[in-house]
Symmetry: C2
Amino acid sequence: MTTQPAFRRSEPDARRLSLIEACARVLAREGIAGASVRTIAVEAGVSAGLVGHYFPGVDALIAATYAHTGARVDAALEAAVAAATDDPRARLEAYVTASFAAPIADPQLLATWIAFWSLVRARPEIAALHDEQYGGFRGQLEKLLADCGLPANALRRTAIAITALVDGLWLELCLSPHELAADEAAAIARDALARFTSTAPAAG
Amino acid sequence: MTTQPAFRRSEPDARRLSLIEACARVLAREGIAGASVRTIAVEAGVSAGLVGHYFPGVDALIAATYAHTGARVDAALEAAVAAATDDPRARLEAYVTASFAAPIADPQLLATWIAFWSLVRARPEIAALHDEQYGGFRGQLEKLLADCGLPANALRRTAIAITALVDGLWLELCLSPHELAADEAAAIARDALARFTSTAPAAG
DNA sequence: GCACTTGTTGTACGAGCGTCCAACAAGGTT
DNA sequence: AACCTTGTTGGACGCTCGTACAACAAGTGC
């Protein structure tokens, strides 16, 4: 009888990525409380000890998972803008509504994202990643808004408002999926975008 | 030499409340990962065993903390509306902007709130509390919006948009306090409210 | 076929976890 | 002053946690 190999070797980068993806799935399913080395290792189909071979500790794995997830989101948003027409308004709308289409509007990705939010205050290295990530969002939004002709003194506030709206819709999409569907969230975001970028600021 | 009492008895309700408040502080400071029975007990100045005397388990304490925090938020919002004039618009604005004034716009309260978000997906009893809480928000908002003359078919979407915006601003206020201050968040919310409740929906 | 590198496993360790519970003591009643 | 109720403590229980590490084996070069 021939015994099959007890395990298969993997390209370091591939194994590393599979650990990161397993970590993201566990974070989405069980939250930070369930994201232990052993749980993640089982999810990746690997022994617990192997995690220590690729990451100095479980915190580093979680941070790497945030960085990887953030990069995925960035790439999807950039791709949406690149696929849009040259019209500044269309590019802005593409950037914002991409948050409510595949691959971002995925309950698992959003749940992972919420787990990261819950880590920002307690973990300085996650806070640093968060600042970088959201600084990027804001910067990109301000650029797209400026291209739409928004006055310079309105850029910052409008970018913050849009970011807040998108995050809030993500939250409801993920935590109250029976109350809100992705296409409705996209419609709400489109409508809000039009209102935010119209000239009449109303009283305040 | 007279030894002082080793501990002081407390009214059951007062002790219960002090455990809940200690739990909220720990959740704000360390997130769900640090909210252990022992940590919470130390925070409350009490032995770990006492937690089991007031709550069937640590999960029940956390759920009670969510319920208590939610009730505090509700009360603050209701008080703001009650203090407003009879003008429907003023009442709506009071309800929304109260989220960015004391006692709600408190970093500790918001951090606690974010910790609850991270529990919704993994803990059914927290999910039930969440549904109830946010159902209440939406219902109240829809009522105030209807009083402002918003057409019935716009109530739901507008309420969702406002809820999302407020949650998103809370998030930035709590996670990026160096980027956004409470008064600026209030100004953004006021402006957005005016835009959401104006008649012109623009294209979309 | 042998040596070598290194990805991978399994185990062991100390620490912290939630929960339980016998013993203690504070405060009120009689 | 004796008593009772019960809030409170502190330790013990079995478990899971993160980490470290020796042993093993897969793949590579020769």
